[in-house]
């Protein structure tokens, strides 16, 4: 019988520092067969292990359009991510997956897209963002609204610059606490509504961030006229197994790991629990 709990060995081929506490790890599976058959979709996640320390669910931040490797942008937060941050290039990392559903893609074609993220919420959106950028002509206007606590916390600084230079694409940044020379907005991400138009016509908003941010962004999107079904989000939950068995990520009869992590706001509203801040 197949054992879905066994991770596959991969090697870290590069480490890119993204912010003061977040790195992007590029990994390649040792086994050629796994490398060739590990097909993932935008928004899926993997379970990543450091043997002897533990395993954690991490979203795949690379785009499925870019083959042969996986990227994970990982913030140094808990026991496992701390151990990952101690690793160097050529060190092994153990990976199994991909798990979960994915962001819509074909349904987004021709639409204007608003990517709205807070803090470490940008990495889970990066896969879809780069997929859109790789097929840029198929989509309408794209705006990336990104809020972080401090300029140090802003991830993907280089890519944000690149995205900004792509036609029909805008990047808007804001931080809670600016530093000297910070040229962008100050305040929470909804402050960006003052800077740029957020218009619901032919548009879909894709969100990821801390619950409190999601709550205010949803309220703001509703004020701007967005329908619940046009608000898409990827949810974070404690997940141990990734395959609907350990129980930790259950919400009602759904498991975030297999039924999610991507949900539309009308699906989230239909959750039968009061566990959500939004």
């Amino acid at each position: 019988m197949k054992n879905d709990y066994l991770p596959h060995k991969a090697k870290i081929t590069s480490i890119q520092k993204e912010s003061f506490d977040t790195n992007t790890y590029k990994v390649v599976f040792d086994d050629k067969k796994i490398k060739d058959t590990f097909d993932y979709k935008q928004g899926q996640f993997a379970e990543i292990s450091v043997l002897g320390v533990g395993e954690a669910p991490i979203s795949i931040t690379s785009s499925p359009t870019r083959k042969g490797f996986l990227e994970f942008s990982i913030r140094n937060t808990g026991k496992v991510t701390r151990a990952i941050h101690d690793l160097k290039v050529n060190d092994p990392l153990f990976v199994r997956g991909p798990y979960g559903n994915s962001f819509p893609y074909d349904e987004l074609k021709g639409k204007n897209l608003y990517f709205i993220a807070g803090g470490i919420g940008l990495p889970p959106l990066r896969s879809l963002i780069n997929m859109v950028m790789d097929n840029r002509k198929e989509f309408g206007h794209v705006k990336i609204l990104y809020g972080a606590k401090t300029p140090d916390e802003v991830c993907f600084k280089k890519e944000l610059e690149e995205w900004k230079n792509i036609p029909n694409t805008e990047v808007w940044l804001t931080v809670d606490k600016p530093c000297d020379g910070w040229g962008c907005s100050v305040g929470v991400v909804t402050e960006l509504w003052k800077e740029t138009n957020v218009h619901p016509e032919n548009a879909v908003a894709i969100l990821c961030g801390p619950p409190i941010m999601i709550k205010f962004v949803i309220a703001r999107l509703a004020e701007s006229g967005f329908k619940d079904i046009d608000i898409v989000m990827t949810l974070e939950r404690y997940m141990k197994c990734g395959i609907g068995k350990c129980g930790h990520c259950n919400i009602g009869e759904k498991f975030v790991c297999i039924d999610g992590p991507v949900f539309t706001y009308n699906q989230v509203k239909a959750f039968p629990t009061k566990e959500h801040a939004f």
Binding site: Y5, L6, G54, I258
Partner: protein, 351 residues
């Protein structure tokens, strides 16, 4: 249904013979007095000692035999430097003397671990199992058993390989599957043919046993209520305040399947294990960021009741509660599923 018969005095011999081919789990009363499902040792002296403690009376078996398939703590795989070594395939298991409600719990878990992704650890243990159930003439936990309300006992109608019906000096044996039939044939000397009137006798014993279950709740109504729109916030908040979050109810529940995963390493070698976990614990949903969607006590209580009586039922058609009553008997502050069902079906406050 074919009916066979085995003398009570032949049970030990049956287990002796079975232990050669099977990994046998049976209720054994320990010196301390608790009756637990115990894996019978293969070695002769130890086996004989264990057989002395075999207890098929209507005893309160502390934990259902679910841990034969889903151990409280188990190795998932070992590793040596960067090499991963999967755990070996388990041998086939015979669960002897399982109570009808507990057998229902195992059937429920079989479906759960098969659904979506297959859980290799559970299923490789459970796939070749043989379940020999024993019905209850009187409820083992008289103040807590409510199997007749949930139709999970005191005898099974299906799902067993063999079912023993206590008829005094012998057990009448119902055969419920081909595997059960094969087992009977393999031990043909011990299983006798039943007499003509003994089918009637079985019916009488079963109906008397059902009458002996005193605690009754409106289980079907509870499932219907939980399925529909309802608001039991007051109940959940009150029960949530009363609960001391010891998790006892989860550990003794035959259908609880949640687990945690942890690594252990010494030098280059190590092991990844999983152990039982439970939704009433505060840390169960806490994320690395510190955010905890179920930090509030009442939300954890809500989860427990809604999972068992609502989501399991809507997802599988089977209730996650099999009416064994163990949550009530294990609870230091007398919270229990039967009491909750009574509250929501009658409107009376019970806790």
């Amino acid at each position: 249904m074919t009916l066979k018969k085995i003398l009570k005095s032949d049970i030990k011999e049956l287990l002796r013979q079975s232990a050669k081919e099977w990994e046998v789990y049976a209720p054994v009363t320990a010196e301390e007095g608790d009756t637990l499902f115990t894996r019978l040792p293969k070695e002769k002296g130890k086996l004989e000692k264990a057989l002395q403690g075999i207890n098929l009376k209507d005893e309160w078996v502390v934990i259902s035999p679910k841990d034969a398939f889903f151990p409280q703590l188990e190795d998932m795989f070992h590793f040596d430097k960067e090499k991963i070594i999967d755990t070996p395939s388990p041998s086939k298991k015979l669960i002897f003397g399982v109570r009808p409600c507990d057998a229902k719990g195992i059937l429920f878990s079989d479906e759960f671990f098969k659904k979506n992704y297959e859980d290799k650890y559970y299923l490789s243990r459970a796939k070749d199992k043989l379940m020999i159930a024993v019905g209850c003439l009187t409820p083992p936990r008289p103040e807590a058993c409510f199997c007749t309300s949930a139709k999970t006992g005191p005898f099974l109608e299906s799902g067993f390989d063999l079912q023993l019906v206590d008829a005094g000096g012998a057990y009448l044996v119902e055969i419920g599957s081909d595997k059960g039939s094969e087992f009977v044939n393999a031990h043909a000397k011990l299983f006798k043919n039943s007499e003509k009137d003994e089918e009637d006798k079985v019916k009488k014993i079963k109906s008397k046993a059902a009458e002996a279950v005193n605690l009754k709740v409106d289980f079907e109504k509870a499932l219907e209520i939980m399925k529909g729109k309802n608001d039991f916030t007051e109940n959940y908040e009150r029960i949530g305040e009363r609960c001391i979050y010891c998790g006892g109810c989860l550990y003794v529940c035959p259908t609880c399947t949640c687990f945690n995963v942890l690594d252990d390493k010494k030098g280059d070698k190590g092991v990844r294990r999983r152990n039982w976990d439970g939704c009433v614990f505060r840390g169960y949903t806490r994320e690395a960021s510190g955010h905890n969607p179920r930090d509030k006590k009442s939300l954890r209580t809500t989860r427990r009741y809604e999972h068992k009586l609502k989501y399991d039922y809507s997802a599988t058609g089977m209730s996650g509660c099999i009416a064994c009553g163990r949550c009530l008997t294990s609870c230091p502050v007398k919270i229990g599923m039967s009491k909750f069902i009574e509250e929501i079906t009658t409107g009376k406050r019970t806790m």
